[in-house]
């Protein structure tokens, strides 16, 4: 190995060496963190909702007339009957929202009526006795709501039903011993609500960063919205008939009552559209980070190619002298590969510190998770390979410098 003389030579070319090492360091720091952000965003995008996404669609139904609570309740019941009798529809339920819709209703959960600090936070869904069946939720303990338990809920009413069905994530959070069924908790009220059922997975409506610690913590109350503004209908199509159901449902509802509208934005959406809308920013961020990584890696590779090409041109005579003194093609190739490896290792050492420093700042500022070591190790390997790949062509050119070059005039 020629490490000592190479280091000695590099000390005489400090500017270029330091610049490339710093470029490698910055690239490592940024790429590691960017890849981690991409991973987190992709994991977020892939989170399961627990509902039968391929067969579901949602309708935002806005009334065209001002109804009283009773009138609205009757209209909703009528709509549901219409929807449920469509040949392409398996079931339908009225609700305040659906997983990944964004926003939604969140309640603090406490274990005692006089508790001042929340135990945790839960996303609240309201629905009738068809809610579980329509969304395709998997009941893993207890029972479903029965029709008698479902109450109508008017505008500005704060109804806390005596029974609830909660997600397993929330059950485990509230009762880590696995004995949640039959237990009670309080939800922004001094009236307890008892857990009668537990479903396997039910994602929150909200997908924004703040709610990440509560992802999967959901509860369902047996309430039927009877409000003057409108209601969401979630409709489950029979397998393979989603398109038919989405075409037939609005027609059927309009036929029954023209005094309504389905807004352009979310008046009629399937889960593919819901997912795309919900994770648009995550996908955009992942793509942006990916582009940043690619550009940085390309710039670093170009920098290495440029500097090495310059050095090869500058040292052409020196390479000829080495060849004259007995260096083979391979010796010259190894020289430049080793030289790049040493610069890369220097850059990587600094870059590792920078990567963790940048991550700490991101953790403090944007609540990003702690950077796993595997990302840094992966980044190190990538940059070493990138450096060796980038230096190979100029190094190969250097190895082809003939020994006669030693005798050419300087």
């Amino acid at each position: 190995m020629q490490i000592k003389p190479i280091l000695s030579a590099l000390r005489r070319h400090k500017a270029g060496t330091v610049l490339i090492a710093l470029q490698i360091a910055l690239t490592l720091a940024i790429v590691c963190n960017a890849l981690y952000i991409i991973h987190q965003r992709l994991a977020h995008i892939a989170e399961p909702t627990g509902v039968d996404e391929p067969n579901l669609f949602a309708m935002a139904n806005l009334w065209g007339e001002q109804y009283t609570k009773e009138q609205a309740a009757a209209k909703v019941q009528q709509d549901l009957a219409t929807l449920r009798q469509l040949p392409s529809v398996a079931d339908a339920t009225p609700t305040d929202g659906y997983p990944l819709r964004g926003g939604g209703w969140d309640n603090f959960i406490t274990m005692k009526p006089d508790q001042t600090a929340k135990t945790t936070d839960a996303s609240v869904y309201v629905g009738d006795e068809h809610f579980l069946r329509t969304l395709g939720l998997k009941l893993i303990a207890g029972r479903d709501f029965n029709a008698g338990e479902v109450q109508n809920m008017g505008l500005r009413e704060s109804t806390i039903p005596p029974v609830t069905i909660i997600s397993k994530t929330l059950a485990d959070r509230l009762f880590p011993n696995g004995d949640a069924l039959g237990k009670s908790f309080y939800s922004m009220s001094s009236t307890p609500t008892t857990i009668i059922g537990i479903v396997d997975t039910l994602h929150r409506q909200d997908v924004s960063t703040w709610s990440a610690p509560y992802t999967g913590q959901s509860l369902i109350w047996p309430l039927r919205l009877a409000q003057p503004l409108g209601v969401f209908y979630v409709v489950r199509a029979k397998p393979g008939q989603l398109a038919d159901a989405m075409r037939e449902a609005p027609k059927a509802l309009y036929a029954e009552n023209r005094m309504r509208m389905f807004p352009a934005k979310d008046g009629l959406v399937n889960y593919q559209q819901i997912r795309e809308e919900a994770f648009e920013r995550d996908r955009g961020m992942a793509i942006l980070m990916g582009i940043i990584c690619a550009v940085l890696l390309a710039i670093t590779a170009a920098g290495i190619v440029g500097l090495t090409s310059f050095w090869v041109g500058q040292r052409r005579r020196q390479i000829g002298v080495r060849r004259a003194l007995g260096a083979t093609h391979r010796d010259i190739l190894h020289y430049f590969l080793t030289e790049n490896l040493l610069i890369s290792l220097g850059g990587i050492a600094i870059g590792t510190l920078l990567a963790f420093g940048l991550n700490l700042w991101l953790v403090k500022t944007f609540s990003l998770g702690f950077l796993p070591l595997t990302y840094v190790l992966g980044g190190m390997v990538t940059l070493v390979l990138l450096g060796q790949g980038a230096v190979f062509a100029p190094a190969l050119r250097a190895s082809r410098v003939p020994p006669i070059e030693a005798t050419r005039p300087a």
């Binding site: 003389p5 020196q318 004259a324 003194l325 083979t328 391979r330 020994p403 006669i404 030693a406």
Partner: protein
């Protein structure tokens, strides 16, 4: 030690062929100190680069230390350069990024020699040229004469069978040139074979034997009718 028979070197372009060496014959015995002289463009540097395996030749034969070199691949030629030949260039050709010690070490590293042996050889070679105390200096910190001594140390450290010197004093003033020449003579007295290209008649006169090259061929100045008159006159002047 070095024998070229009917050797030729032709540079070809699309329109013209130029003979740098033509029917070139030379035989240097082991332990000889031969000076190769000739006017500019006569082919003496081409001879030296072919002799040092720095470039290939077009035709003929070249035996170096008993090995016919025309069929050797690049790696084998590198190995022979490294083990059998020591080069002393007019421009010294030290590597400016390396200090004196590291410069002398270059050919030894390519030989795969162990560090301890390398160090011993380097210090012996530097001691021999009187520069052991300058081992940590960089070439730019040395005079021209000292740089050429380092180059000689680099050539000697590998204990080559043949030393090839290309105008070794060409870039030096008279005093430094004298010192370098005395060093070469001393090395020769110790048994080294030296082939030195020069156009300095005074320097050539210090060699054991002179070989003159004209138009890519070795000529005997006393015998060649083209130069007979001029040679006789010049010899008369020197004798007178």
């Amino acid at each position: 030690m070095l024998k070229m028979t009917h050797l030729s070197k032709v540079y070809r372009t699309e329109v013209v062929e130029t003979y740098a060496l033509r029917d070139f014959n030379i035989d240097v015995k082991e332990g000889e100190f031969v000076a190769v002289t000739g006017p500019s463009g006569s082919g003496k540097t081409t001879f030296l680069t072919i002799a040092g395996l720095l470039e290939t030749f077009t035709g003929g034969e070249y035996h170096l230390d008993g090995i016919e070199v025309s069929q050797l691949d690049d790696n084998a030629r590198s190995k022979i350069r490294n083990e059998k030949i020591g080069f002393i260039f007019q421009a010294f050709n030290l590597i400016p990024d390396l200090n004196v010690f590291d410069n002398v070490e270059v050919p030894l590293r390519y030989r795969g020699m162990k560090a301890a042996e390398r160090k011993e050889r380097i210090m012996n070679a530097l001691d021999r040229v009187g520069l052991a105390s300058r081992a940590k200096h960089y070439p730019a910190e040395l005079s021209g004469g000292q740089q050429q001594r380092v180059a000689i140390a680099r050539a000697l450290a590998g204990t080559p069978r043949l030393l090839l010197a290309d105008e070794p004093t060409g870039n030096l003033d008279t005093q430094m040139a004298r010192g370098v020449l005395e060093l070469l003579e001393e090395i020769h007295r110790e048994g080294a074979t030296i082939v030195m290209v020069t156009h300095d008649p005074e320097l050539a006169a210090r060699a054991q034997r002179n070989v003159h090259i004209i138009d890519g061929q070795v000529v005997d100045l006393a015998e060649d009718p083209r130069f007979h008159t001029a040679y006789t006159a010049a010899a008369g002047q020197i004798r007178g």
